[in-house]
Amino acid sequence: MPLVDDGSRDFWRGGADGRLLIRACAACHRLFHPPGPVCPHCYSRSVTSRAVSGRATVASYTVTHRGWVPGYEPPYVVARVVLAEQPDLHLLTNVVGCDPEAVHTGMEVEVIFEQRTDVFVPLFQPVA
C-alpha cells in the first residue's frame, strides 16, 4: 500500500476523479516527480499539482519472474514510462492489460487506475 502523505496525496488519490496528478512548479511550469516541496529545476517553493494526459511511452521494462512483494504474483511487468508532456518526466510503474511478453521499449501506453482501499494506483496499459 502506498504511503500517502502531504506530498504524494494528489498522485495516489487523483485517480478517484480519473486524473493523473503530477507535481508542477508554479514559477517555471515544469513538471517533476516524485513530488517534493521544491522545484528541482528553478528551486521555487511554490509547487502545485497538474493533471496530465496520462499518455506515455515505455522507456524500459522488465518481466519479473520472482515474487518479491506480497500481492504481486509473477510474471508481471515493471516499466519505466516517460510521460507525453515532458521528456524527462518518468514514472516507475507496471504495464498491465496485455501479455507481459508483448511489452516492448517504445510501446505507447495510457494510464489506468487500480483502486486499493482508499488509493488509486496509476498503472499503464497499451493504447487501444
Binding site: 524500459s60 522488465t62 519479473t64 518479491w68 512483494v69 515493471v78 516507475l92
Partner: protein
C-alpha cells in the same frame, strides 16, 4: 583537464589486509567474524590495536537480514582503541567509498592508521528459505506499490536499455558470470566453483528479464578489514599497496527508481574524477575489479572507465578472451560477487591487494603493477586505482 599530481590520496597506503572465514551459512556472529578480520589486518600491517587511531565502516546502522556488521562505536569500545578519527558511515550508498575516506583521513594527518572493515552475514540470515531483498524491508512506497522489492528489477531496466539501444545480447552479458566462475575455480574461498557453460547460463531461470539468477550476486557471510596508513609508514610495511587515485560521484539523485537517464550510471562521473587525478590511462591498468552486484554493472563500468567505447562493452567481453587472467584486461580474478560471494566490493579490494602483493596463489597474474577497483552500480559509484610500484 588539469591533472593534480598531488592528489592527496597518494599519501595513503594499504598496510594490512585481513579476511575472516567466508562462505555460506557459517552460523557465526558478525562480531566474531569482524574481530577475526580486523585483528588479522592489524597483525598483517605489523601493528597492534594500540597503534590504530582511526576507524570506519559502512553501513554502520541496523539493516535487517545480515547486511550490516557491528557498529564502529561497539568495535571501538571492545578494542579500547585510542582514536583521533572515527566515522560510522551511514550513507546508504557508500559501498566502498570508505576506502577513499580512510585514505584522505591519513593523508591529511587526522590519523596515522585507519582500520576499515565490512562484515556481512546475509547467508546465515537467509537460513534455508528465500531471503527477502534488503530493499523490500525499507519503506519505499514508490517501489513496493509496483511490486519492486529488489534492486535486481531496477538493474534489469538498465540492462534492457543497454540491450535495446546497443544491441547487447545475453550471450555477451553471460561472460561476466562465465569469467567470474572460471576464476572462482582457482579460489578455494569462492562459494560457487563448479564449471559453468554458456548453455548453463542461457538455460538458468530468469529473475527479472533479461537478468537471470546467474546475473545476480550470491549472499554470503564474512568480514574483510584493511589498515590504511600514511605513506610515511611504507618502509615499516612488508608489502605496501599505494593509493594512486580515487573517484566518486552521485549525479542528480540517490534514488534508483527515479534515476534520470538509463544510458548512464553514476560510474561515468566517478570514472571521470578518477582519471582526472592521475596520469595513468586505461591502457596502464593490469587488473580490473569491476563491481558485479549485477552483471550489467560491469558493462557500464567498462564503458565509463574507457576500456571500450560507449555501447561496445558487450562485444568487448564476448568470448571471454580479453577479460581472462591471461588476457589484456584480467577481470574479477577471485570470482567476483557472482561466484566468490557478495562482499559489497570488499572482496574485490581484497583480491586486488593480494594480487598486487603477489600472494594470489594459483590465480596470481604475473607482472601486475596497477589495479582498478570499483564499487556500486546505478546511482552508486566509487573507483580506485592502486599500485605496488612507487
Amino acid at each position: 583537464m588539469t591533472i593534480d599530481r598531488q592528489a592527496v590520496e597518494r599519501q595513503a597506503i594499504v598496510s594490512g589486509i585481513g579476511r575472516s572465514a567466508t562462505g555460506r551459512r557459517l552460523n557465526r556472529p558478525a562480531l566474531d567474524l569482524t574481530l577475526d578480520a580486523c585483528l588479522a589486518a592489524i597483525a598483517d600491517a605489523g601493528l597492534t590495536p594500540r597503534d590504530i587511531d582511526g576507524l570506519t565502516s559502512w553501513p554502520d546502522q541496523a539493516v535487517p537480514f545480515g547486511f550490516s556488521g557491528p557498529r564502529v562505536s561497539d568495535l571501538h569500545s571492545l578494542l579500547r582503541l585510542d582514536l583521533s578519527w572515527i566515522l560510522g558511515c551511514g550513507d546508504g550508498a557508500n559501498v566502498t567509498g570508505i576506502l577513499g575516506i580512510a585514505a584522505h583521513a591519513v593523508a591529511t594527518g587526522l590519523a596515522r592508521h585507519v582500520l576499515v572493515y565490512r562484515t556481512v552475514t546475509e547467508s546465515t540470515a537467509q537460513g534455508t528459505g528465500r531471503r527477502p531483498a534488503v530493499m523490500s524491508q525499507m519503506p519505499a512506497p514508490w517501489r513496493t506499490t509496483y511490486g519492486v522489492g529488489s534492486p535486481a528489477q531496477l538493474a534489469a531496466l538498465w540492462a534492457r536499455h543497454h540491450f535495446d539501444r546497443y544491441g547487447t545480447t545475453r550471450e555477451q552479458l553471460a561472460w561476466v558470470a562465465l569469467n567470474d566462475r572460471r576464476n572462482a575455480a582457482d579460489n578455494p574461498d569462492a562459494i560457487f566453483r563448479d564449471p559453468m557453460t554458456l548453455d548453463d547460463y542461457l538455460t538458468t531461470r530468469m529473475i527479472s528479464n533479461p537478468l537471470c539468477l546467474l546475473d545476480c550476486d550470491v549472499p554470503a557471510d564474512g568480514a574483510f578489514a584493511f589498515v590504511i596508513s600514511h605513506a610515511d609508514h611504507r618502509h615499516d610495511t612488508e608489502r605496501p599497496v599505494f593509493f594512486e587515485a580515487v573517484g566518486g560521484g552521485r549525479p542528480m539523485t540517490s534514488s534508483w527508481e527515479f534515476w534520470p537517464d538509463l544510458d548512464v550510471m553514476a560510474a561515468m562521473k566517478a570514472a571521470d574524477q578518477l582519471w582526472s587525478r592521475t596520469t595513468l590511462r586505461p591502457t596502464d591498468v593490469d587488473l580490473a575489479y569491476l563491481y558485479d552486484g549485477f552483471s550489467i554493472f560491469v558493462l557500464y563500468w567498462l564503458e565509463a572507465l574507457g576500456f571500450c567505447a560507449r555501447g561496445e562493452s558487450g562485444p568487448f567481453i564476448e568470448g571471454g578472451t580479453r577479460i581472462a587472467r591471461d588476457g589484456d584486461l584480467p577481470l574479477n580474478t577471485s570470482g567476483g560477487q557472482l561466484s566468490e560471494g557478495r562482499y559489497l566490493g570488499f572482496g574485490h579490494a581484497y583480491e586486488a591487494f593480494l594480487q598486487l602483493r603477489n600472494q594470489a596463489g594459483p590465480r596470481q597474474v604475473t607482472d601486475t603493477q596497477i589495479a582498478l577497483v570499483t564499487g556500486g552500480g546505478g546511482p552508486l559509484a566509487q573507483a580506485f586505482l592502486f599500485t605496488n610500484d612507487r
